[in-house]
């Protein structure tokens, strides 16, 4: 059972454009939603995270939008740069107890110069 569905599988954006990646979850017990960035040969690294008590969180060029009723959340990368080219994973977890992450399948982003 895939509890976190992520789309698109891959994305090509021109430099300066907006990259948008979407995720949907099923388990209503999830209350912590991080996004991870992974470069080739490296482990995933936390990029930005949100809790369901807010509808949006912004950190620099990265914004998470959260829709609790639809059980969906998305990552927006403004002014996309070639250095943003990486694989992005959404994930979901419960914020208390032993925090196990459930990951989406990932989106490979390529920002063309």
């Amino acid at each position: 059972q895939q509890q976190v569905k992520q789309s698109p599988q891959s994305l090509i954006v021109q430099k300066g454009g907006i990259s948008i990646i979407n995720c949907a979850y099923e388990n209503t017990a999830f209350d912590y939603f991080p996004w991870y960035q992974q470069f080739p040969g490296k482990g995933p690294a936390l990029l930005i995270a949100i809790r369901p008590d807010v509808s949006e969180k912004k950190e620099g060029r990265f914004t998470i939008s959260f829709n609790k009723s639809a059980k969906q959340f998305s990552l927006h990368i403004m002014d996309s740069q070639p250095g943003d080219s990486a694989t992005y994973f959404c994930a979901a977890s419960m914020s208390s107890g032993y925090s196990t992450l459930t990951f989406g399948k990932g989106t490979m982003l390529l920002v063309s110069p």
Partner: protein, 116 residues
């Protein structure tokens, strides 16, 4: 602060052979995780330790996979015997281990395993 260390970085073995991966978490982190990341997919949790006790191993194929975390610090993940479908990147992660709030997981660079 040193990150999560893993070795080896790459391993190629024949099917039915055995292999072991090592992980050294960030100092002071009580929780240690092993994930399997198959090409084109997100990481899947194999086993989670809190200090030297197992918290979750529900997705660990116990007929061939084993893991231990002696003394609550370093950990070893073993596969015996390996199958072709075990080809993946094995990621180790660690976190502080406070069960009252979410603790960020820090990932190591992973071990890429190829089973021929």
């Amino acid at each position: 602060e040193a990150g999560v260390a893993q070795s080896p970085r790459y391993k190629i073995i024949e099917k039915r052979q055995s292999v072991a991966f090592w992980c050294n978490p960030i100092s002071g982190h009580a929780t240690l995780y092993w994930y399997q990341q198959i090409l084109g997919q997100g990481p899947k949790l194999l086993i989670q330790f809190q200090n030297n006790g197992v918290v979750d191993d529900s997705q660990l194929p116990k007929d061939r996979f084993s893991a231990e975390r002696l003394k609550g610090v370093d950990s070893t993940l073993k596969i015996q015997p390996a199958k072709l479908e075990d080809s993946a990147v094995y990621l180790c992660a660690s976190s502080l281990g406070d069960t009252f709030s979410y603790n960020e997981q820090f990932f190591g660079p992973g071990t890429r395993l190829t089973v021929l």
